[in-house]
């Protein structure tokens, strides 16, 4: 009766272990887990591919462009007469044709990718840095409790509410008006717009993390407050902020374009940037709509890439979907 075929026994053990974790693997952290989930999401892959292309073009593209992005070849050669509505379209030599200043549009698009990326990244970083600072201080003060903490927190948050009450455009306009139009201004203006978003996000997330049991557990272990904040609260609050930063990159690019449209963009169009190119193309919409469509489509696609990736990251990092 006690005959046990080794085979069957193995099977039980194998199955039993199937359910548990196996020894040979290392643990999978949440980031890795999220990354795995991300890889399975087609939207994320589309977004990532778009962005990879974009970044690639932005980084190495400018070294390979056929013409100088600021060189008015068309005017020198007398083929571009934008004053008379003559702007030649694509040709074998100029793949996307000339722009109104007789420059090679293809080269400008490629060089523009770098500028656009720069504007997007820098302005997002500005927003992130300032927002995270405000949100971090507010969150830490609120989490710390006490009369002072609460006071600091509500004061900072009232300020953030105020920023939030201003439509983003007006905020950007104010900044641009204060600082005068320049590339830096655009980046600061666009960055300021996202400050309240980041601040609220980080604060909210920090407060909820501060109230979590594992922070209490760390306290009861005797870990110092500052250490708890750095090793537990902040890392766990970062996920939504990172997601938001990705989404903000998308809007930052669009917003920079809108500022250009309103004439608050970088006035120096010798530095090609898609938003500036789009704004510059407005007077020639009737003659060569393509001049507007190239940068517009580029902006839309890039923004879409960031948004897709951001949304997918949000999903992947969402604790509700974690299993």
């Amino acid at each position: 009766m006690t005959v046990t075929t080794g085979k069957k026994r193995d099977k039980i053990d194998r199955l039993a272990e199937l359910a548990a974790v196996r020894d040979d693997e290392r643990g999978v952290s949440l980031w890795q887990e999220a990354f795995r989930r991300l890889r399975r999401n087609p939207a994320a892959i589309v977004g990532a591919v778009i962005l990879a292309l974009f970044v690639l073009v932005a980084v190495v593209g400018p070294f390979f462009v056929p013409y100088g992005a600021t060189d008015s070849i068309g005017i020198r050669e007398g083929v571009v007469k934008s004053g008379q509505g003559i702007i030649p379209g694509p040709s074998g030599e100029h793949w996307l044709g000339y722009d109104h200043q007789g420059r090679d549009v293809f080269s400008r698009m490629v060089v523009g990718a770098r500028q656009t990326l720069l504007v997007g990244v820098v302005s997002t970083l500005i927003g992130l840095a300032v927002g995270a600072l405000i949100g971090g201080i507010a969150g830490a003060s609120a989490g710390l409790g006490g009369r002072w903490g609460r006071w600091v927190d509500s004061t900072l948050m009232r300020f953030v509410d105020m920023l939030l009450a201003l439509p983003s455009l007006l905020l950007a306009v104010s900044v641009a008006a204060l600082l005068g139009a320049s590339l830096t201004t655009v980046m600061i203006a666009v960055g300021v717009v996202s400050v309240p978003v980041f601040a609220r996000l980080l604060r909210g997330s920090m407060i909820s993390q501060s109230n979590s049991d594992y922070v209490l557990a760390a306290t009861s272990l005797g870990v110092k407050r500052s250490r708890i904040a750095l090793t537990h609260v902040v890392p766990n609050s970062l996920a939504p902020v990172i997601v938001q930063a990705t989404l903000t990159l998308a809007t930052a690019i669009i917003e920079a374009a809108a500022l250009s449209f309103l004439g608050l963009g970088n006035p120096d169009s010798t530095i090609p940037e898609w938003g500036v190119m789009l704004a510059d193309a407005q007077p020639y919409l009737g003659i060569r709509p393509a001049l507007a469509i190239y940068p517009a489509v580029a902006i839309i696609v890039t923004a879409l890439g960031f948004t897709l990736l951001g949304e997918a990251m949000r999903e992947a990092l969402d604790p509700k979907l974690r299993k």
Binding site: R158, A257, L264
Partner: protein
């Protein structure tokens, strides 16, 4: 309820107070100072000095701030440096247009967004869902002014279905009462005037609606999906209620809660959007006025606009919160 309103209105005070400080500093920090903004290019140093005296710019800063506040409280926003008319008057004339436009955009965004979001959620994973999710992604990523141009180029310029600019055909003689053209048309029974004004709202309304529409679709969809998974929907189903009742009474109403919040938040953004849309459609509203003021550096107008926007934003959110408390009794107790 009353306490709630009072509380919210009181909350407006520190916001406005903070804003007033910001604006005050801003106005003083203008390149060349306020006197340049007023005098424009014709100023001589003497005139500048005179204006500084006139404006009391040589007094202590707190005194100046006090006077600034007093003027703000009297709703005296000063005179536009470009049109030379009182900012308040200018706003009153242009505000109705913007209100009409934003209301139109909101009607489009809500009227299309909520049903679409709901249907997408009900048909999760099917074609309609993918289309509306994809569409809303693009809606978010497309620059508003570009969309406005495209709409105009296609539907006004090429197809000629809609007018491309303005609020009303100037050849229609319409009586003005409130400056809300549609409303005026209805009040005076000038149906063609009302219809024409409405017709002029379609394209700019669509352009302006793009972002709120996209966001409402997404939020509605997500929210309906979430509510569909809620226990109380299961309870309703378990009670054998008809599908109609379950959807209407139990799903939609609850799903509207986050949508209502987001609508309040969108209101502020709509005014930003109006600046771009009105410019493209030569639509006479606050937005276009502000866009002009931006290029004219008309600081009194911009400042007034910011203050008004802040108030409107808070008021809209108050209304949204009130309507929120109509949908959600849990809010009501406070």
């Amino acid at each position: 309820m009353f306490r709630f309103i009072v509380r919210r209105l009181l909350q407006l005070i520190p916001t406005l107070f903070g804003l007033s400080i910001l604006l005050f500093i801003w106005l003083r920090r203008l390149p060349g100072g306020p006197e340049t903004a007023i005098l424009g290019e014709r100023g001589t140093p003497e005139m500048r000095a005179a204006i500084r005296r006139n404006l009391g710019l040589d007094e202590p800063i707190l005194v100046q701030y006090g006077r600034f506040i007093r003027r703000m409280i009297r709703l005296d926003l000063g005179t536009s440096t470009s049109t030379k008319r009182e900012v308040t008057t200018e706003f009153l004339q242009r505000f109705p247009g913007t209100v009409e436009l934003t209301v139109m955009a909101m009607i489009i965004a809500i009227g299309v967004g909520i049903p679409l979001g709901y249907l997408a959620a009900r048909r999760r994973g099917r074609l309609l869902d993918h289309l509306s999710v994809g569409g809303s992604l693009i809606g978010i990523c497309i620059p508003v002014f570009f969309l406005a141009y495209m709409l105009k180029a296609i539907f006004a310029e090429n197809l000629g279905w809609f007018p491309s600019s303005g609020r009303q055909d100037p050849t229609i003689e319409a009586t003005r009462i409130t400056n809300f053209f549609v409303l005026d048309g209805l009040m005076t029974r000038e149906w063609d005037a009302a219809a024409d004004a409405l017709w002029h709202l379609v394209l700019p309304g669509l352009a302006l609606a793009s972002i709120p529409l996209a966001i409402i679709v997404r939020i509605t969809r997500a929210s309906v999906l979430e509510v569909l998974g809620e226990d109380f929907v299961r309870t309703a189903e378990a009670k054998g209620l008809t599908e109609n009742v379950v959807r209407r009474r139990h799903v939609l109403r609850n799903a509207m809660l986050p949508v209502a919040t987001s609508i309040g938040l969108l209101a502020g953004g709509l005014l930003s959007g109006a600046v771009l849309t009105e410019t493209v459609f030569a639509f006479s509203g606050i937005g276009a006025f502000v866009a002009e003021s931006i290029s004219q550096r008309d600081y009194p107008v911009l400042m007034g606009f910011i203050l008004i926007i802040a108030v409107v934003y808070v008021l809209v959110n108050l209304i949204v919160d009130l309507s929120y408390s109509l949908i959600d009794p849990r809010v009501r107790v406070r």
